[in-house]
């Protein structure tokens, strides 16, 4: 069976459609699944039919779930200096992290809102296709030594924005269990919903000031990129902003009126 056929059959038998994910990435990941499980594509499809929990495993393996606290410190300090001063004046601020995975960037942004003293008027939404990752996001507990760059990134951003805050102000560190946990005052605000950008209806009704959509569409073909960006930006206020990954661009064939300022796009 070809991978293309496998993905088509998977989309017929499960709620998930990966047909328009970009080839190189998905081929490599499915190859790895075949090696890890020692199963053919036919066998994997069969197992999906017999054991519904296997679907979650497949989603885990197909999707890329890596994320970091304060990935790209220069991006965060740029947003802090250039975008957030304009937002600060609003009475209510809504942020949507589309494809938030285990939530590190959700908390990254909240820390910056806390730095600005506007966290109380923020509404924070995280969505992801992967239920296992959303559970991690809600828990806000991350492996410490595996993520040793967190502290450096945190310090770099705080230095850039001229803050004296310490990592310990936002995280409880548990050396014995080798974890860091997001402090409760941050954890109570964000709402995390399962949402597949490709197939589902949006799980919330708000209009959004800033959409974070970082390092997600690199896994999509261009037609899917455009479809998804349309969905995301329909929910944005006029003048709202879209933050992509550092090496991502809106597709050249995307039709929409946006102006790019360094690290983000603003909807005209």
């Amino acid at each position: 069976m070809e991978i293309k056929t496998f993905l088509e059959k998977l989309s017929e038998r499960t709620p998930y459609n990966f047909c328009d994910y970009s080839d190189n990435s998905i081929y490599r990941r499915i190859q790895k699944m075949q090696d890890d499980y020692r199963m053919t594509l036919e066998q994997m499809l069969g197992k999906v039919g017999e054991d519904p929990s296997f679907i979650n495993k497949l989603v885990d393996d197909i999707t890329v779930n890596t994320t970091e606290l304060f990935r790209d410190p220069d991006v965060w300090s740029f947003l802090y200096d250039r975008l957030y001063p304009q937002l600060q004046k609003k009475n209510k601020l809504t942020f949507w992290h589309a494809g938030c995975s285990s939530g590190q960037e959700v908390y990254t942004n909240m820390i910056l809102m806390h730095q600005l003293g506007v966290l109380d008027k923020c509404r924070i939404i995280g969505t992801d296709i992967n239920v296992n990752m959303l559970q991690k996001a809600r828990a806000g507990v991350y492996a410490k030594s595996f993520n040793s760059s967190y502290r450096n990134n945190f310090d770099e951003v705080m230095h850039r924005i001229g803050s004296k805050s310490r990592f310990e102000d936002y995280f409880d560190i548990d050396e014995a269990n080798d974890t860091i946990s997001v402090k409760d005052f941050l954890k109570k605000e964000p709402k995390f919903y399962q949402y597949d950008l490709v197939t589902n209806r949006l799980p919330f009704a708000y209009k959004v000031d800033v959409v974070f959509f970082r390092n997600v569409m690199i896994y999509f073909k261009e037609n899917l990129q455009i479809k998804v960006i349309n969905t995301l930006t329909e929910r944005m206020y006029q003048g709202g902003s879209l933050v992509l990954g550092k090496r991502e661009m809106l597709p050249l064939t995307f039709k929409g009126r946006y102006v790019k300022d360094g690290m983000y796009y603003t909807k005209l």
């Binding site: 080839d23 994320t67 220069d74 690199i218 261009e222 990954g245 090496r247 991502e248």
Partner: protein, 191 residues
């Protein structure tokens, strides 16, 4: 040499510890007319993320590009894997990026870049492994050799750290083992 060099669609280079100075030397000594796209995957130390591209741009005669996802690979350019992203070559001659898990403790992973280039360009690819303290890249170079591409390993005796070239030599037999000057001569003769 019996190979027909007109046919090559890309030179793909991987290196780690010690490779920055070497890449700088290669790029500053290449002929201005060198038109085969050069695709470079170098491990970067986390604390010196910035400044690398700027230094290369000052010395290189060819334009240095840190590509965006889905950017087209074009003649005469040098493409450098962006910090903290894996970089792949796609069938349609574009670059794709990924933030997925580290491979050989590395992101970018040289194996990923080289292997994807071997699939996209098959026998029309030149692969080069330079100095480095990691085995990343060895398997990728073997993939290029398996697809009948042309392969070069830096002579371990000339490498600042010889783990990477030696790992490649353990896994496969390259077409050439060259010193840094040998690599520069080789590339300039392709023009």
């Amino acid at each position: 040499m019996s190979k027909d060099f007109d046919k090559y669609k890309a030179v793909v280079i991987g290196g780690s510890a010690g490779s920055f100075a070497l890449v700088l030397k290669v790029l500053s000594n290449l002929d201005k007319q060198f038109s085969i796209p050069i695709i470079i995957c170098m491990h970067r130390l986390k604390h010196v993320r910035s400044g690398l591209v700027e230094s290369l741009r000052m010395k290189s005669k060819l334009p240095i590009i840190e590509p965006a996802d889905k950017q087209k690979i074009e003649a005469g350019n040098v493409y450098l894997a962006p910090s903290n992203y894996h970089m792949f070559v796609e069938f349609d001659g574009t670059i794709s990026l990924s933030i997925e898990e580290l491979n050989n403790q590395s992101r970018p992973s040289i194996d990923y870049t080289l292997s994807s280039a071997s699939v996209a360009f098959r026998d029309r690819c030149i692969g080069i492994i330079l100095t480095g303290a990691n085995k990343d890249g060895a398997k990728g170079l073997k993939d290029i050799a398996d697809k009948k591409g042309f392969t070069i390993v830096q002579d371990p005796l000339t490498a600042e750290v010889d783990t990477m070239p030696k790992s490649a030599l353990r896994l496969m037999t390259p077409d050439l083992i060259l010193s840094p000057d040998g690599i520069i001569d080789f590339l300039n003769k392709l023009v």
